[in-house]
């Protein structure tokens, strides 16, 4: 009995000792975790439950010169997926809700898996709001599926102007490696103003701190300690575009191939800029229509190619006014010098001259586009060894040099000098025969419609070099406005008398030359010069550059039409209508509009090689 109670006492003591010991171990462990390693776990806990989230900034808006909204943003609804939490058994349900086929959804889910099993990515963007609501309602049955509201570009104005605005695409590896501020999947400008002013338009990303639970579901904003950074909206752009004029120009260019540039000759502000055929920039906003994307990339008409600024074509006779100015400056001719046209200019070979045979001074040579006159001027420049001077002088008018238009991919054109010709043909392997053509804007001389408009502007604004541009002002998120001041630089060697002579010729080109059929605008004096670019592959390309009113020009319009044949019946009426629209506000000549809309190219069947309209 005594033995037994002893044993009981010992046993109880042993058990108590074990319990105390183990409790001490537990206490020690808790002490270790909570006190000694507190900082480690405290940080872990924060990391666990607070997630940093970027908030996209609203992209800047684009307005026309009169404040008409051209480009804004529109919310789109996206469905997201976190593959780790998504059960593939739910694919049929998901597909059903999305209204897509099982196989497509399976494919999309697999794409997301390939990107990352753990990170959330967009499964499908720009879904219909009804579909989006359906998904939202059924989210509880679809673990791993989420939703997101983004924005896409919206184009409220009745203009296409795809070559002005450009399109956005999601940034790829190359993009985000270049710039720190771009993340994978950000939508960035890939062409047009969207690209050129990407830094202005994009705004600043905001940062939000969110409390999340173990499933990554957001539980609201986390505001303690860390300060969230609100996004800063991108700068709004006020462009120089006149939306009405742009819309009208686009209408006229429907079904045609070419480019139009309408510009203020004194400032270089571009009023309208059309390249046709166009692509629908709207179709590239939001969810990318893969078929359409492939179509515009591979179509033979190259709708993505900006013909107004990137094409490179011989300017033909539109170059003649500049030739006149250079000829006068170099003293090769005076305004009174008369040169006889026999129907051909013969120098090694005959160069056909379609102008009526007879004596031509500079005015009439421009008015009637006498090839002989300008070939002979070029002849004298070349033979007196002034080819490089000629090239330099012409470059002052913006040809053959890059212009600083605020659009990507403008072409600098070609204005050959001896170095260029040496490189092209080899030293001493070129001769007068290669150079003579330059005098009538043929051969190697080439320019974009924008450059011809720029050249014309310098002629009509009193010899100032201007920089064509589309941006009028930047309006920052804080309301401050930064004007884009037009620069204007006098070309020192150009004298008014040269310009006056040439301008008179251009006026007469409209009143009595090839422009007389369609160029004139009722009640307004219009000047211009037609031209034809040789095209070895088909109908020649028509050029026309014009300005009005002749005495105090307010606008320069340059039209370039591919494969349109005679410029006087194709490009000229278009320019005439644009001038009328701009200067009068309304177009009264509906018959001419109809004519342009129904225009079918006609080609002269004669040797079009050197036609001179």
């Amino acid at each position: 009995m005594n033995n037994s109670s002893n044993r009981i006492r010992t046993s109880i003591f042993a058990l108590q000792a074990i319990m105390v010991l183990i409790c001490l171990v537990v206490l020690g462990r808790i002490f270790y975790l909570q006190i000694i390693q507190y900082e480690v776990y405290d940080e872990l806990g924060d990391k666990n439950s607070i997630r940093q989230e970027y908030v996209d900034a609203a992209r800047g808006l684009i307005y026309d010169r009169n404040g008409t909204l051209l480009v804004d943003n529109q919310p789109i609804y996206s469905v997201t997926i976190t593959p780790l939490n998504f059960d593939t058994k739910n694919i049929p349900l998901l597909a059903d809700l999305l209204g897509e086929s099982d196989s497509l959804v399976t494919e999309l889910v697999n794409d997301a898996k390939r990107y990352s099993r753990f990170r959330t990515s967009k499964l499908i963007t720009d879904v219909d709001f009804k579909v989006f609501s359906l998904i939202q309602e059924n989210l509880w049955q679809l673990p791993g599926i989420g939703h997101q509201i983004d924005s896409k570009r919206n184009y409220p104005a009745p203009i296409t102007a795809s070559h002005i605005f450009g399109y956005l695409r999601e940034a790829d590896e190359n993009d985000y490696k270049q710039t720190q501020s771009i993340r994978l999947g950000d939508k960035i400008g890939k062409s047009g103003l969207e690209l050129y002013y990407q830094d202005n338009l994009k705004g600043d990303l905001g940062i939000n701190y969110l409390k999340v639970n173990a499933l990554g579901q957001s539980l609201g904003k986390y505001t303690e300690q860390k300060i969230a950074k609100p996004p800063v909206q991108g700068d709004n752009l006020i462009t120089t575009i006149d939306a009405d004029l742009q819309a009208f120009a686009e209408q006229l260019m429907k079904g045609k191939s070419g480019g139009i540039v309408a510009m203020n000759p004194h400032t270089g502000e571009i009023l309208a800029l059309v390249s046709s055929p166009e692509y629908e920039v709207k179709k590239l906003a939001g969810r990318i229509d893969k078929e359409y994307w492939q179509f515009i990339n591979s179509d033979s008409t190259r709708p993505l190619f900006n013909r107004a600024i990137s094409s490179r074509q011989p300017p033909g006779s539109t170059f003649k006014p500049l030739m006149g100015i250079i000829g006068l400056h170099l003293g090769i001719v005076t305004p009174e010098t008369e040169i006889y046209n026999s129907g051909y200019y013969i120098r090694g070979r005959p160069y056909k001259d379609l102008a009526d045979p007879g004596l031509y001074d500079m005015e009439s040579a421009i008015a009637h586009s006498s090839n002989t006159y300008f070939l002979s001027v070029m002849d004298k420049i070349a033979t007196s060894g002034k080819l490089n001077t000629w090239s330099k002088l012409a470059k002052d008018f913006g040809l053959g040099v890059p212009n600083n238009i605020d659009l990507p991919s403008a072409n600098r054109g070609i204005l050959p000098d001896s170095t260029y010709l040496d490189n092209r043909f080899g030293k001493n392997k070129w001769g007068l025969g290669d150079v003579l053509n330059f005098g009538i804007g043929q051969g190697l001389v080439s320019a974009s419609p924008l450059q011809i408009a720029q050249m014309t502007s310098s002629i009509v604004n009193g010899g100032y070099k201007i920089e064509p541009h589309l941006l009028r002002a930047v309006v920052r998120a804080d309301g401050s406005i930064e004007q884009n001041n037009s620069t204007k630089e006098k070309i020192d060697w150009v004298k008014d008398e040269y310009l006056n002579t040439v301008k008179k010729g251009m006026r007469r080109n409209v009143s009595e030359g090839s422009g007389k059929f369609y160029a004139a605008v009722p009640e307004i004096e219009v000047s211009g010069k037609t031209g034809t670019a040789q095209n070895p592959f088909g109908f020649s390309h028509g050029w026309y550059t014009s300005f009005a009113p002749s005495q105090s020009p307010e606008i320069v319009v340059t039209v370039f039409l591919e494969n349109a044949g005679w410029a006087s019946i194709s490009a000229v009426p278009i320019a005439s209508l644009i001038l009328e629209k701009y200067l009068k506000g309304e177009v009264e000549r509906q018959w001419l509009v109809n004519y342009v809309l129904n225009f079918v190219p006609k080609e002269d069947n004669s040797e079009a090689s050197v036609s001179n309209e």
Partner: protein, 399 residues
């Protein structure tokens, strides 16, 4: 009577701990509150019984318990992978909880029914082991590994109390200890084997027992290594790896361990404050109202809170053991000690899981965790101890 106060206070202080966790599962709190109230009434009413009555009814309890277990096995509902619940009317009954009491009472009754029955006699000892093992098997069939451990732990405790020699007792417990260390490192297991064998020799100078212990230890160490490499299924190995190295698979098997440690660790000295724990309130913890409730306390009330909880539990254990020592009747002693052991195992495994001292084994913390059956059972166990203490003098006369 002082102990009744303790229970009341205990119920009052520990019960509402469950208040802050289910703020999304508010229902659970309301239910738990109901259970607590029910339990208090139950505990008070229970004092009208005399120890003698349930002593005599213990075999019947046991039989009913086994029937309930069979019913559960056949018609039970499954919750979290364990088929331990029997739906009766409006509530789910966890039959294994009831079975704990029945087993303790019946086995204690058996071991103390006659003076000549001691655990020293191998036949009696094995009978007692069988009485415990039968419900254990059912529990394992229910897929409730945690509860099975509690039952298994009863074997050495009850046998030890019934006169099993110290050395043999240590020997019975030793494999578990060696196994635990071997999972970390087989060398630790080997050292423990040698030390335990030495201890057994010191306590009970029997060469054969020491040798057996040594051999068992070696078999355990080798067996664990073989099991880890060859026998265990991948998901089981994953669980063990998760325990030894949770960072190996942080979002999978290691998730619970990491989140639990993070919850407790980020609590610091004073905790983040009531309802302020980011880990718990943001649902990073699985089963935080039952198996990981200590993390909630640790995170929100810090070292002070969790430490107080541990000390409170320790106080309860020591108090119960002291009571057991005061009992004259072996049945009362054995039951009290067994009840203490059950509480203790629950406590150690639960807190051990949460603090990553032990592998994660789902088992509630007595009186703190959510769970009606468990709370009622625990209260009942405590009530029995109290009751026996209350009738201590009378009871001893019945001998």
């Amino acid at each position: 009577m002082a102990i009744i106060g303790l229970v009341a206070i205990y119920s009052a202080t520990q019960g509402p701990v469950s208040e802050f966790l289910p703020d999304y599962i508010q229902n659970n709190f309301a239910k738990q509150l109901l259970w607590v109230a029910l339990a208090i009434v139950f505990v008070l009413c229970f004092q009208f019984f005399t120890p003698r009555s349930y002593m005599q009814l213990s075999y019947l309890f046991y039989a009913i318990g086994i029937v309930l277990m069979i019913c559960t096995f056949l018609f039970g509902t499954e919750i979290n992978g364990a088929k331990s619940w029997l739906r009766i009317g409006f509530f789910n009954l966890q039959s294994s909880e009831i079975m704990k009491i029945a087993t303790i009472l019946a086995t204690a009754q058996y071991l103390t029914s006659r003076r000549d029955i001691t655990a020293e006699n191998i036949r009696y000892a094995l009978t007692a082991v069988a009485m415990i093992l039968v419900p254990t098997i059912f529990v394992i069939l229910q897929n409730d590994f945690g509860t099975a451990i509690v039952f298994l732990a009863l074997i050495p405790v009850m046998l030890f109390w019934s006169g099993l020699p110290y050395g043999v007792s240590i020997y019975i417990v030793s494999p578990a200890f060696i196994l635990y260390l071997t999972v970390f490192d087989w060398k630790l297991g080997a050292i423990a084997t040698i030390l335990i064998s030495f201890l057994i020799f010191m306590v009970q100078k029997r060469v054969w027992l020491t040798v057996t212990s040594l051999i068992t230890g070696i078999i355990t160490v080798v067996g664990v290594n073989v099991a880890l490499t060859d026998i265990l299924q991948p998901h089981q190995i994953a669980r063990i790896t998760a325990f030894t190295n949770p960072a190996f698979d942080p979002t999978g098997a290691g998730w619970n361990v990491i989140q639990a440690k993070t919850a407790i660790g980020s609590g610091g000295l004073l905790g983040k404050g009531f309802m302020e724990g980011t880990q718990t309130q943001l649902k990073f913890l699985p089963e935080q109202w039952t198996d990981f409730i200590s993390c909630v306390i640790g995170e929100e009330f810090g070292f002070m809170g969790l430490g107080l909880l541990v000390v409170t539990f320790l106080f309860l254990f020591l108090r119960l053991l002291k009571q057991a020592g005061n009992h004259k009747h072996p049945f009362a002693q054995l039951v009290t000690v067994s009840v203490t052991a059950v509480f203790f195992i629950h406590f150690v495994v639960n807190i051990g899981s949460a603090t990553a001292l032990l592998p994660v084994i789902g088992i509630p913390l007595p009186f703190v965790s959510y769970g009606g059956s468990a709370f009622l059972t625990n209260s009942l166990m405590l009530a029995i101890c109290l009751n026996m203490d209350l009738y201590k003098r009378d009871f001893s006369i019945y001998r």
